[in-house]
Amino acid sequence: MIVENMEIVSQKNIASQVYELVLQGQELVSLAIQGQFLHVKVSEGTDPMLRRPISIASIDKDKNQLTVIYRAGGRGTNMLANKQVGDQVSVLGPLGNGFPVEATNAGEKAVLIGGGIGVPPLYELSMQLVAKGITVIHVLGFASSKDVFYEEKFTELGETYVATMDGTKGYHGTVIDVIKDKGISFDTIYSCGPTPMLKAIETTFPEERGFLSLEERMGCGIGACFACVCHVQNDPTGIAYKKICTDGPVFAIGEVEL
């Protein structure tokens, strides 16, 4: 967990409002693992005020580079999208626990379920799982065909299903529909995406071994401000909590309230 000025090596628009950004680092890259995130300052001054949490999509330790994929929408991400190759951004990271590759054994089968801008962290995860000899199946849900990205990249790593809500690409429906209809079997679930999707996964597969990556508005990103807490499941007192920035963003199915 360090603060580093990282230089923009490349910035590409890869889907509607979605950008792939490659950052050149020094020490930070060597510390990063799949499922962790960066806290990115998109400008020098106080506008915008806060850093933006963005997941690590892939890690290149040889080149000392990290790739992130983000959707430009609000003030900060729009400013990030306007940055040029050669510009620097201050990055605090890597943050959070990351996806546990060790939860799946070599030879087992993992299904990676991504929703929209929750897809990126699954990419590095998939590479790590494959490297360990785990079979990966990707189920990636998007709103519409214009939002789809990285389909080929995931396909190179394993079976890949794309679903869109409006049916303009791939399967017409939700990721859950795909898993059920295709009768996909698996030993472990790894997922990242909008909360309703994560809830649906938990409801559909409450007994499975699985890991969900959560989102919440953050202040510090390092566990100090208590902005990003969530309740723990089955806690009669109601006061137990987990911090998404440090205890998460990845939690086991059944661990915290979604």
Binding site: D47, L50, R217, C220, V229
Partner: protein, 303 residues
């Protein structure tokens, strides 16, 4: 020879820079970035008698040059703060300012009495911005009589000096400051956050689950400077200044307004190293300004 050391009631500080309460947890997270002994003091997160989960999320919202928070005083409760957090902090030779909160007078008294006995707690910061449940939700911090009464009671039980942390959401900050000074406060901490709100255009609801929250960050700095400028000319107890500080220049501005020490809050979230950076940059700035010791700056804008 140090040019930054500062002696305030209860607080013998190697420099007048401390992280602000609620913006530094109990120090553990920032200890991963630097040695906490670099700091002049540490204001820990508000402790209450009971363990509190706080408000539902979202608890923060961004604003122009600022942020809103409605954490809701989440903390592990007095017992745990004493047994775990404060004991952990004992490894560092740095005075702790214990921020205390509550919704009933009795709660404040219990926390003040017990926490002030902790080895490393050198001062209490009485956070009177919380709603007073007995008085129907009026915050302790907006009625001079209520604030004064609470200050007296806390002073009676505290083993260490008491700094009262003033809320800026009042018509007359001087009246509040004078009331708590007369009630025996050893110092003031100001300002706490301004009450604010942001609304989500699509959801048509406040962004914060709690509705409104406290505005902090550079946006509020001019309000803090103005209030400290007013109050410091009237009271004779020292002021710990805060509100938007993020640079050595800001620290000097607060001193010139009338502060004798400062706390850095929101800026820690943007740059975890902001406190040590400020501390390192101050001597150079003092040189530029032709100042030998930082105390020379206190109240410099009106003295």
């Amino acid at each position: 020879m140090s040019r930054l050391n500062m002696e305030l009631p209860g607080l013998s500080m190697r420099n007048p820079i401390m992280p602000a309460s609620g913006c530094f947890g109990f120090g553990k997270e920032y200890a991963k970035f630097y040695n906490l002994e670099k700091l002049g003091a540490i204001a820990i997160k508000a402790a209450t008698v009971e363990t509190r989960f706080g408000n539902p999320t979202p608890r923060v919202a961004e604003t122009s040059s600022g942020m809103l928070n409605a954490i809701g005083l989440q903390n592990p409760g007095l017992d745990s703060v004493l047994a775990n957090e404060l004991v952990w902090l004992e490894q560092y030779d740095v005075p702790i300012v214990a921020n205390i909160a509550g919704t009933k007078t009795e709660d404040y008294i219990e926390v003040a009495e017990r926490i002030s006995k902790a080895k490393n707690v050198h001062a209490i910061e009485l956070n009177i911005s919380c709603p007073n449940v007995k008085e129907g939700g009026i915050t302790f911090g907006t009625d001079p009589k209520v604030a004064s009464e609470l200050t007296k009671l806390v002073k009676e039980v505290s083993s260490v000096p008491v700094y009262v942390k003033l809320s800026p959401n009042v018509t007359d900050i001087v009246e509040m400051a004078v009331a708590v000074e007369e009630a025996g406060a050893d110092g003031l901490a100001m300002i706490n956050t301004l009450l604010g709100m942001r609304i989500d255009l699509r959801k048509r609801k406040p962004i914060l689950a709690n509705g409104s929250g406290g505005l902090s960050g550079p946006a509020i700095k001019p309000v803090a400077i103005r209030m400290i400028h007013q109050v410091s000319q009237v009271v004779s107890i020292p002021i710990i200044g805060m509100g938007g500080i993020s640079s050595a220049e800001d620290v000097v501005e607060f001193f010139l307004a009338g502060a004798s020490a400062v706390a850095v809050g929101t800026a820690n979230f943007v740059d975890p190293f902001v406190c040590p950076t400020i501390i390192d940059e101050l001597p150079g700035l003092l040189d530029e300004l032709g100042v030998e010791h930082i105390t020379e700056l206190i109240g410099g804008s009106w003295k």
